[in-house]
């Protein structure tokens, strides 16, 4: 899910071929999310099949460039706007999304951070509501209730750590003096190009 949307978001910035896409993706997620070229290629095929990308109107002479269709652009914009749901497996999507957002064109990291923070606070309120139904610390409590209460604490503390991380991102981005905003990669760096 996240790789697909991440690639789509990158294409929304400018048409690219698969090699450059892979380089951009890896560089801009801090190398934390390796993808192989076959994966990028098959993702493009699926996106093309779903009508979200098309072969770019302006083509490079050696490489096939892709660009998002109108609905592809809408899909990418919706991805930026929508916070990653807490219940979703693979919270790595959030990590990918924020890493990409730092350098993405036309995306305000602060908005993404805020949408996510709201979502996480919402989840925390749910845990807290459940927590308020078990006896308070110091009051008589059964062992299953205590266990349940500690599980809820786990969820709460994990979510809180995420909010703190988001606060940290916001503060870091606000203070950062960026030297080079984008990675310098081109498709021509690659010798072998599938056609």
């Amino acid at each position: 899910m996240s790789v697909k949307h991440g690639l789509l978001a990158l294409l929304a910035e400018e048409p690219m071929g698969v090699y450059r896409l892979r380089k951009e993706f890896e560089a801009r997620t801090g190398g934390s999310w390796p993808v192989n070229i076959g994966q990028v290629y098959s993702t493009m095929q699926r996106l093309e099949r779903d009508g979200l990308v098309a072969k770019a109107s302006q083509q490079d002479e050696d490489v096939e460039l892709y660009e998002p269709t109108e609905s592809g652009r809408a899909e990418a914009a919706a991805w930026w706007r929508t916070p990653v749901a807490r219940g979703e497996v693979g919270r790595d999507e959030l990590v990918i999304k924020l890493a990409l957002a730092v350098s993405a064109v036309g995306v305000d990291v602060r908005d993404i951070v805020q949408a996510q923070r709201s979502e996480t606070m919402r989840a925390m309120r749910d845990f807290t509501r459940l927590k308020s139904q078990v006896p308070a610390p110091g009051e008589p409590i059964s062992s299953p209730e205590l266990a349940w209460s500690l599980v809820l604490d786990h969820h709460t503390f994990t979510a809180e750590a995420e909010v703190r991380w988001l606060d940290h991102i916001e503060a870091s981005v606000a203070r950062a003096v960026l030297t080079q905003s984008r990675t310098e990669t081109t498709d021509r760096d690659e010798a072998e190009v599938p056609r």
Partner: protein, 243 residues
């Protein structure tokens, strides 16, 4: 949803200083807190949280915009009237408890009522009731230094909501407490609000903000987002009227 509104801020702007040193601490803040509602305020340091709380409680005056407390517009009152309104309607809870060391728990709670001209006996009865609400009836005659931090903060909550007071403004009330004690204080605050009060709570701890119904996020003096239990209803209302 139709509970009475206890606090309204409309287009509140607060500028500190002037000229090159001008700092816009609040810039067009709208906020409503109803009876039974606890609203948390979060935001980075310097985003205007304390200013918001001070303006909401009449301790600070907005440069423009209006603050309405239980139907009274603060800017339409003179200083004396505002002070009386504050004493009667609003309670404050601070990080460092702010109890008077020479007074017992009960005396700390009854003091604002006595200052308000309520006969001593009645003030004491109200104080006892307020202490019972926070689970401290047995500690009524203890002095602050004979109480734990959590107990002192519960006394402060009792004092904030004694007698006719219904609006509690809390600035980092759990800031000096460990996490289990902080939770106990939040439970008490939540219970008091549920029993018939309204609260505005500034905290930088998401775990404690999660006890509120809503969180208002401030950034550079403006509300950037507000999340809460009434949102899904609002969305449903929108979609049902839209079709």
């Amino acid at each position: 949803m139709s509970d009475p509104v206890l606090l309204t801020l409309e287009g509140v702007r607060r500028v500190h200083g002037s000229g090159a040193r001008e700092v816009v601490a609040l810039d067009g803040v709208d906020l409503t807190v109803r009876l039974g509602e606890l609203v948390a305020v979060m935001g980075p340091s310097g985003s205007g949280k304390s200013t918001l709380l001070n303006v909401a409680g009449g301790l600070d005056t907005p440069t423009s915009g209006t603050v309405t407390i239980a139907g009274d517009v603060l800017s339409e009152m003179d200083a004396k009237g505002r002070a009386a309104l504050r004493r009667k309607r609003i309670g404050y809870v601070f990080q460092d408890f702010n109890l008077i060391p020479a007074l017992t728990a009960a005396e700390n709670v009854s003091l604002p009522r006595e200052l308000d001209g309520v006969p001593a006996r009645r003030a004491r009865t109200e104080a006892k009731a307020a202490l019972a609400e926070v689970g401290l009836e047995k500690q009524a005659r203890r002095f602050p230094d004979e109480l734990s931090g959590g107990q002192q903060q519960r006394v402060a909550i009792a004092r904030a909501l004694v007698g006719p007071r219904r609006l509690v403004l809390a600035d980092e009330p759990t800031g000096a407490l460990d996490s289990v004690t902080g939770e106990a204080v939040m439970r008490v605050l939540r219970a008091r609000v549920d029993a018939g009060a309204a609260g505005l709570l500034v905290t930088h701890e998401p775990r404690f903000a999660a006890w509120a119904d809503r969180t208002v996020f401030l950034r550079d003096g403006t509300v950037v987002d507000s999340t809460g239990t009434d949102e899904p209803e609002a969305l449903l209302a929108d979609s049902s009227t839209g079709t």
